[in-house]
């Protein structure tokens, strides 16, 4: 409400209140019940009173000072009940939905409650909560509101209620997270809850109660660090976008921390650190690498404005001594203060170093000396034990149990495929993985799956040199007789492109990765093995297999892939008999996990950044790291775009929801500046004054 006063009482209550001042008047002017006292003479008294009376108006005022004070007290109380204030927001509609962004970027300390101040020093989330609290304060009788917080997952903080106290209480429970921003999910949740009638009712319930959808105002409190929401119809939701933060906030972030074995020195680890500068000024950043808290190395990086740079630092021994499994890349405090960094959570990157020796690799082949030999090198031995089984092993119960229990870290299927994908990384040689993903997806026609195109003598024209699987590999110098033309799924990365199409690719699958080589190495022709490619004569062949194990096994164990906050982690037990493991979060919170049958443990609570420790039967068996590593969240600048009316001025960018552009209402949703607290305080002061005057008059 932008008007000066807000009504807080019903007419009847007002009538009652309006009767108070006349009552005070009446009481004052009604004959006071005075105690009669007989005195020798009223002569002197009368003279005194007359003197006082004639003295001045002031005397008269003094006489009725108490009356004035009492009336003032009531006036202040009435004024307080009118809740005078200014600014404020017009709350229209009877239902409000507050979508509070609590993603990582909302921890940036550059917001201020003053909507016209662009640069503050308070966390955006705090200011967002304050604004929501201000809006809750302005809710009128009959208004209901709902609060949803959203980061990676939207969470209903409070369902629709008109209990503003409850709303405020629940609002304060919103905590900052390090998750990404998913406005779409929050909007869907809000819409579902706002229009419950649209929830489809199960079969057999023919009467769907159709409540005419009530409009609701959706306040989106965010810093705009998300992509536009597509495929969402706002319907009767009226969006209001309240941007928070500043368009010029600088931030430095560690955007990657990877460990891998040193190429030059065996048994040593090195770390690759990438830092990004999201400010407008180039920065000379110093990155510190710490292992178990002790500084291992530090290096200076020149970060041009808006760009990232990486550096490789030696870590030390690959074998992690107890307590040395935590690797930490940190931007130094001097760097951060020089850059004016405002977001703390992304200034540190974490990596876990695991003991690599426990890995198990299964090679399923009808016999392939080339691969077997390539997997028999001493370097690969250090990475893990390789077991070789014939394809018939795939039908055995032992294999099924091991695959389901995720006993293996990597299974290599040479010219054979299992019925279903194992719970591990997999490499398929000359075969497609089971399932539809590699066969044009579930929508593809059934017959297309069998008739995967075969290419005769494909010519390798390019390969993905940046992919770790093909690191240090030259592929242009061999021929292939026959290969499958691959139709990799959407999320796949093509490894080798032939003129006819991809012949090798890698794609993620449920937290694992499937690598598919379209061409077999050896083919059986008439009972004898024949070479399908002369790759086996090249240096690149054993290197490729080394890469495969490094990528799938060593990376997994040495410094496993950094997980995103909130991502579910599958944890394979070291021993199949283990029924319970404990996951200790970086802050020391322990969570006990149990599993059903042979399935791996699933840990869902990775909500904080840092290194988690997995304890199995009292022994720390594994560590994994959770990092923000999210450029969208680390780039904390409020999105801006050019103002169409004034090209010189940038303005806060609109957000696109479905087909609707929601203009940012910068300076909107200000909390109403309320005066009633001060008024009540003044009333209290008047009360004290009245008490004092009364006592002074009587006793002094």
């Amino acid at each position: 409400m932008s008007e000066l006063f807000r009504n807080t009482l019903s007419p009847a209550q007002w009538a009652l209140l309006a009767a108070v001042p006349p009552a005070i008047f009446a009481l004052y002017f009604l004959k006071l019940k005075r105690t009669p006292v007989e005195v020798p003479s009223t002569y002197l008294w009368k003279k005194s009173i007359e003197d006082l009376r004639v003295n001045s108006l002031w005397q008269r005022l003094r006489q009725s000072l108490l009356l004035f004070l009492q009336l003032l007290l009531v006036a202040l109380a009435i004024l307080a009940l009118l809740r005078p204030g200014w600014q404020g927001t017009d709350l229209t509609g009877s239902r409000l939905i507050f979508l509070v962004d609590n993603s990582a970027s909302m921890s940036t300390t550059d917001a201020d409650a003053d909507p016209y101040k662009t640069d503050g020093d308070r966390p955006r989330l705090d200011v967002a909560k304050e604004k929501v609290a201000g809006l809750i304060d302005q809710m009128e009788r009959g208004m209901t509101a709902m609060i949803i917080s959203y980061a990676g997952q939207p969470r209903v903080v409070q369902q629709f209620t008109d209990n503003t106290r409850l709303l405020r209480e629940r609002l304060s429970t919103i905590e900052p997270t390090i998750g990404p921003t998913d406005l779409g999910g929050a909007l869907e949740l809000a819409e579902g809850l706002a229009n419950p009638a649209r929830v489809s009712v199960a079969e057999g319930a023919p009467d769907v109660e159709v409540v005419p959808p009530e409009p609701a105002t959706v306040f989106i409190l965010s810093d705009g660090r998300f992509s536009d929401v597509e495929d969402f119809a706002l319907g009767n939701l009226e969006p209001v976008y309240v941007p928070l933060g500043s368009p010029s906030t600088a931030n430095l972030a560690i955007t990657a921390l990877e460990t891998r074995r040193s190429e030059s020195v065996a048994g040593r680890l090195q770390a690759f650190v990438q830092a990004a500068n999201y400010g407008a000024e180039p920065i000379d950043a110093v990155v510190e690498l710490r292992r178990a808290g002790a500084v291992v190395d530090a290096q200076r990086l020149t970060l041009p404005a808006g760009e990232a740079a990486g550096v490789t630092l030696p870590v030390g021994d690959a074998a992690a001594a107890p307590g040395e499994g935590v690797l930490e890349a940190r931007l130094t405090a001097d760097t951060l203060s020089a850059a004016g960094d405002r977001l703390a959570v992304d200034n540190v990157g974490w990596a876990a170093i695991n003991d690599p020796s426990d890995s198990r690799v299964l090679l399923v082949t009808a016999g392939n000396p080339a691969i077997e030999q390539a997997l028999a090198t001493s370097r690969i031995e250090r990475l893990g034990a390789v077991e070789t089984e014939p394809p018939g092993f795939l039908d055995s119960d032992e294999y099924r149990a091991a695959a389901a229990a995720a006993v293996y870290d990597l299974v290599i299927y040479d010219r054979c495929a299992p019925e279903s994908s194992p719970r591990s990384h997999a490499v398929y040689v000359g075969q497609l993985p089971p399932g539809d993903a590699w066969r044009g997806g579930p929508d593809a026609e059934a017959d297309a799956s069998d008739a995967s195109d075969t290419i005769n003598v494909p010519i390798v024209i390019d390969w993905n040199r940046s992919h770790p699987l093909l690191a240090n590999i030259e592929l242009g110098n061999f021929d292939i007789v026959q290969s499958l033309r691959l139709d990799p799924p959407q999320n796949a990365a093509t490894l080798i492109d032939a003129a006819e199409g991809p012949i090798a690719a890698v794609a993620a699958r449920d937290g694992y990765e499937d690598t598919v080589l379209g061409f077999p190495i050896l083919v059986e022709v008439g009972g004898a093995l024949q070479r399908n490619t002369d790759w086996i004569n090249r240096h690149s062949f054993p290197t490729f297999w080394l890469n495969v194990l490094e990528y799938c096994v060593a990376r997994q164990s040495v410094g496993s892939r950094s997980l995103r906050p909130g991502e579910a982690v599958e944890l394979r037990p070291a021993s199949p008999a283990t029924e319970e493991i404990v996951v200790v979060s970086p802050s020391g919170r322990e969570e006990r996990l149990r599993r059903r049958g042979e399935r791996p443990f699933v840990y869902q609570g990775a909500g904080e950044a840092g290194v988690y420790r997995v304890i199995e039967q009292g022994r720390e068996v594994r560590r994994f790291a959770v990092n923000l590593f999210d450029p969208a969240e680390s780039d904390v600048r409020l999105r801006t775009e050019e103002d169409p009316e004034d090209a010189q001025r940038a303005r806060v960018a609109d957000i696109q929801i479905g087909n609707i552009r929601v203009a940012s209402s910068a300076g909107a949703a200000p909390a109403r500046e309320e005066l009633w607290r001060w008024l009540l305080l003044a009333a209290l002061g008047v009360l004290v004054l009245e008490w004092w005057v009364y006592h002074r008059r009587v006793y002094v």
Partner: protein, 292 residues
Amino acid sequence: MPTAQHLLPPDLARQLERLELVTRKVFRGRMKGERRSAKKGQSVEFADYRNYVAGDDLRSLDWNLYARLDKLIVKLFLEEEDLHFYTLIDASPSMAFGEPTKLEYAKQLAAALGFIGLIRADRVRVETLGGERSPAIRGRRSVPRLLEFLEGIEPAESASLEEGVRKFCLRNPGRGVVVLISDLMDKRGYESAMRYLVAQRVDVFVMHVLSPAEIDPDVVGDLRLVDCEDADEAEITVSAPLINRYKETLAAFTAGASEYCSRRGMNYLLTSTERPVEELMTTWLRKRGLVR
């Protein structure tokens, strides 16, 4: 007599025996008394000579002078007279306040003063403003009578100060000493009453008696003050300014009375009933010259 004890304790009486009433004016008494009067008379004290005029008492001729000067010279002697001592007590209801009451205090004063007068053979008469009057009494023997009369004085119906004094003056045209014991609380003012006394050319002592409650009122709250004489009401809300104002008014009132009396040759004495009568008699009245 218990009343006598009460109004005039023996201790006080003993002290008072040493005192006598003083008047600055020499008055004409009716009977021979113990003090000189302006009238030449028959005392043994020589006053003056004068030529004989026809009608003079031949007994007063100074025959020795006639022998020497052959002139008839009359020898004049001072006449010793009694003093007319009036005590005028205000017995209005307002005097019935205080602890002891102002009336009681007035009675004690009157008893003390009357006692002095009686033992000095003065003519003592006590009257109230209401018109009650004692007979004029003389002599030590009459002390019980005086006390009895005083004892009998009750707070009477309100009589205005002016009316009472006027009637007193009409009844007692003679000269003498008049002690008016009153609280002077008359809404019509005390001035007109005083004027009668001035005109009477008597030696006037005004003893203004107030109770402590009047000098320093100890009241609290919202009160309706009722005048005990005329049932007049005054509503007050006691406050510091009001109390201060009251005190100022009282001070102005007493100061005004004091000045009024001084200007007209009357003695004004303000006393509180708290002050013991003994002290008043022996120190204050002595200083002010009523007794010696």
